[in-house]
């Protein structure tokens, strides 16, 4: 008799797992462990839920009942009362003025708009030349444009009237993308290098040969420098490049009467322009405004401050006492004084420091000061990264026989910058937010424009809708930046444990 047959019962298949007792699985258990684990926790949960409910209850009716189409705040209130609502947001102000909040008083391309979408009235008025030509009547033109803008939808004006800033921002995205995402083709980086000139041309207009000559001049200085560097070493190349730069852009012979020959580049620009006259209508900086201004100041500040900040950080770590002393003084002085005071310096003091009679674009002054300000903060962040690097890395680079710049470039900075990414991005976010402060030196940033809108008769007394719109604009950009820095941190994390 085998052993098997002596056993009365043998289970041949697995039992299905029994469901957990009620309250020990799923949502219920999660809630009990997280929300109601103790008396304090339960009280906290109930309190928070009440808080959320009361906030939503006070905001949601106002938001959702919002009135989107109205001509003025009074009209909004009439519509609200006619509908029998207690509260209602007047989103109509955004609906009507969002273009202004985005672009300030940047002029629209009225010729393009009228010939594309307003052809019939344009023909009635006598055609493009009669309305916009040199001999046209300014009052008639303003009346015509006013009528046209009243008839066209804001979205049409946005797409076609503001095609220049729009295209510039779109190209900015293209130029920045290969820097942000390394999976994109590297050949796009060439466009990134070219973008500053394209962007300046689109935003400011004027002859295309202005930015082109600058680009060609810079490239010429670079290639001359490289040519000499191959023959006479790095130092000779550097001196040659600087000399070429001075020869092209500045005045190498300030004390000799050369009949206005120098600086060279305006002449080159004029000659090129007379050969191929191509350009867009020039738009002075004082017409820039709105969120566009924040983007221009923010991006140029970010792009320019990073290299300066890295150099300052290296200078602060330098073994040369004089260099170190200069960098420390610069960083501490810049960081010790609020940006608003620096902007004040830009707007009132800079004119004292420059040669008599020289005038300076207001926007450019602000960009320079914002850049210097941000670079001091970047320098401190990068210094933290440099200090966090083990000394062994520096010593290893030295023992490989690398010179200072090579060891920085190949060994130290890649690691130090990786450590400092969160700090750098935080500085950038801060810089972007701080662009709102330019309102104090008379530039029309979005917050300044909310005042301008409120000063009009139709929208007198409107606050929340405008502030919420501007806050959301900034939130979107800054939130994207912070998420990007998290992505970058994860991607560059090499020490996975």
């Amino acid at each position: 008799m085998s052993k098997q047959s002596s056993v009365a019962f043998v289970r041949r298949e697995m039992l299905p797992p029994a469901p957990p007792p009620p309250g020990q699985a799923g949502v219920l258990r999660w809630m009990r462990e997280n929300l109601f684990s103790s008396v304090t926790n339960t009280a906290l949960t109930i309190l928070s839920l009440y808080f959320i409910w009361s906030v939503l209850a006070s905001i949601m009716p106002w938001t959702l009942n919002g009135i989107w189409v109205a001509g003025s705040l009074t009209e909004c209130r009439e519509i609200r009362d006619a509908r029998g609502l207690e509260t209602a947001a007047c989103w109509a102000v955004i609906n009507e003025r969002w273009l202004q909040l985005l672009f300030g008083f940047y002029p629209t391309d009225d010729k393009l708009l009228s010939s594309l979408f307003y052809a019939e009235p344009l023909a009635t008025a006598g055609g493009l030349e009669a309305v916009f030509g040199a001999a046209s009547n300014a009052t008639d033109r303003i009346e015509f444009v006013g009528m046209m803008k009243g008839d066209l939808s804001n979205f049409t004006i946005f797409l076609f009237g503001y095609w220049r800033p729009l295209l510039a921002v779109a190209l900015l995205v293209v130029a920045v993308a290969p820097i942000l995402y390394s999976s994109l083709p590297r050949s796009l980086l060439f466009f990134s290098m070219l973008y500053p000139f394209v962007g300046v041309f689109l935003f400011w207009g004027g002859s295309i040969w202005g930015p082109m000559t600058v680009a060609i001049g810079l490239a010429a200085a670079f290639f001359i420098g490289r040519f000499f560097a191959k023959r006479f070493g790095l130092l000779g190349g550097g001196i040659a490049a600087v000399a070429a730069f001075i020869f092209i852009f500045l005045n190498p012979l300030p004390f000799i009467d050369h009949g206005g020959l120098f600086p060279l580049f305006p002449h080159v620009k004029d000659v090129l322009h007379s050969i191929i006259p191509f350009g867009l209508s020039a738009i002075p900086s004082d017409q820039f405004g709105g969120f566009m201004l924040a983007i221009i100041i923010g991006t140029s500040g970010i792009v320019l401050s990073l290299p300066i900040g890295i150099l300052l950080a290296l200078g602060r770590q330098s073994t040369m006492p004089f260099i170190r002393w200069v960098c420390v003084t610069f960083i501490e002085v810049i960081r010790g004084v609020p940006l608003i005071v620096w902007l004040f310096v830009a707007s009132t003091l800079l004119k004292y420091f420059l040669p008599p009679g020289s005038s300076f674009d207001a926007l450019l002054r602000v960009i320079i000061l914002v850049t210097l300000f941000a670079s001091a903060y970047i320098a401190e962040v990068v210094r933290g990264g440099l200090a966090a690097l083990p000394t062994g890395q520096y010593e290893a680079a030295d023992s490989l026989g690398l010179d200072y710049w090579k060891s920085m470039q190949l060994i130290v900075l890649p690691q130090a910058l990786k450590i400092s990414i969160p700090g750098i991005v935080n500085t950038f976010i801060g810089l972007f937010k701080d662009t709102t402060l330019v309102v104090f030196v008379g530039l029309r940033d979005p917050l300044g424009l909310t005042n301008a809108i409120r000063a009009t008769g139709e929208w007198n007394g409107i606050y929340w809708e405008l502030y919420i719109f501007v806050a959301l604009l900034f939130f979107t950009f800054c939130f994207f930046m912070s998420r990007y820095s998290m992505y970058l941190e994860r991607k560059l994390q090499t020490d996975r444990r």
């Binding site: 959320i52 040369m320 609020p338």
Partner: protein, 404 residues
């Protein structure tokens, strides 16, 4: 076989200045110093020329002249007949006032938000995440303007506080929040109130002495005192007793509606409230992140070790986690205080008369002394931040891990 190599000739060649590491750094520094001197000289020369062209000179004598403007918020007496220097001082005190108030409130909210963000409770941490992200990703200026708009647009007018006006004072009719500002009771110091204050200060001193004594006693004998209850009693009882024995010398003057505005009490202007609240809320979001990362930086093993020693969760927090987390928290916290102080210059947006608005605003506009005014203004902020950062360095060196 002679194996000696000849010593290199010690003759100095000019090319060594560039190619010899011993001299190169000297060359670079000398060239840099010369360039710096040249550009400074250029700037100074330009300034002198520009000033001469405008017929101005460089002097600080304007500080002694009559200011001729009023300041609506003053901690020390000031009239329009006082000097510009005194106006600057009033502004400096106003800046320090809002900075101090802001630092206190920001720390309280920030620590609370940071700790709650770590909570396992999904709802609570969710609210705090939304709060922190909303504050950190929008400009401070918007928050200042929003709070100011709340204070001036969404609060009742003083006349609404009349019978049937729809508005009521809060806290037993002692505080009125109106669009003219917040009115709070004003303490009136009567006969013998000095004694009450002195007793109160003494008992605060006694609390510190008690804590010191209790710690010593515990270290020596192991026995614990009920420090918290004793401190609480010491804090209230002696001062209250003196207050009643002296017959209630300190009374409160309540704000009362008279005419179109409130009389009596202390008026806190909306500009101060808006600036204070907005600065605190904004900075508290950054402090919350600092606190959170500080607590997270203490490794889990420390908590477990402390539990293994049989400590209660709150004593674990108090004796094990916090001392280690504070080492990480304090330096960035102080730099946030510094930021808050500098950001208080945004007072301009709501018309709060801080040093930027008095010295750097009206004084400069009236005297035309841009260079001198901005120089003084910048030096003030620079000195404040240097003082605070030197304190921070002291603290850092005192809590630094002693590595042996």
């Amino acid at each position: 076989m002679a194996d000696t190599t000849e010593m290199p000739q010690d003759k100095f060649r000019l090319s060594q200045l560039l190619y010899d590491a011993r001299y190169r750094s000297m060359t670079i520094q000398v060239v840099a110093a010369m360039l710096l001197m040249l550009s400074l000289a250029w700037l100074v020369d330009n300034t002198i020329q520009n000033l001469a062209a405008l017929g101005k000179d460089f002097s600080f004598s304007f500080l002694g002249t009559t200011a001729g403007y009023d300041i609506n918020q003053q901690l020390i007496p000031f009239t329009s007949q006082d000097t510009h220097a005194r106006a600057a001082l009033v502004g400096i005190l106003n800046t320090l006032l809002v900075a101090f108030l802001g630092c206190v409130l920001a720390t309280v909210i920030g620590v609370l938000a940071g700790v709650l963000r770590l909570s396992k409770n999904f709802v609570v941490s969710g609210i705090m995440t939304v709060y922190v992200e909303a504050m950190r990703n929008t400009p401070l200026l918007i928050w200042i303007l929003i709070v100011f708009a709340v204070m001036t647009e969404a609060t009742p007018q003083p006349r609404d506080f009349r019978e049937g006006g729809g508005a009521e004072m809060i806290l037993w009719d002692s505080v009125a929040i109106s669009n003219r500002g917040v009115f709070i009771p004003k303490p009136l110091w009567g006969e013998g109130s000095g004694l009450v204050v002195a007793v109160f200060l003494l008992s605060v001193g006694a609390i510190f002495a008690l804590r010191h004594f209790a710690r010593k006693r515990q270290e020596q004998t192991g026995a614990q005192l009920p420090v918290f209850r004793l401190s609480l009693a010491l804090f209230f009882l002696p001062a209250l007793l003196t207050y009643f024995v002296m017959g209630g010398p300190i009374t409160l003057e309540l704000p009362e509606l008279g005419g179109f505005n409130f009389d009596g009490g202390i008026q806190i202007r909306n500009s101060l409230i808006a600036l204070w609240l907005a600065l605190s809320l904004y900075t508290s979001a950054f402090i919350a992140e600092i606190v959170r990362s500080g607590i997270l930086s203490v490794s889990r093993g420390q908590t477990e070790a402390s539990f293994a020693l049989g400590m209660q969760p709150n004593r674990t927090m108090q004796l094990v986690i916090l001392p280690q987390a504070l080492r990480v928290i304090i330096p960035p916290l102080i730099s946030q205080f510094l930021n808050l102080t500098k950001n208080s210059s945004l007072a301009l947006a709501v018309g709060y008369m801080d040093v930027r608005s008095t010295l750097g605003g009206i004084t400069i506009n009236q005297t035309g002394r841009e260079i001198e005014g901005i120089l003084l203004l910048g030096s003030f902020y620079l000195i404040v931040s240097l003082i605070i950062s030197s304190f921070m360095n002291l603290y850092n060196s005192s809590v630094k891990l002693k590595e042996r």
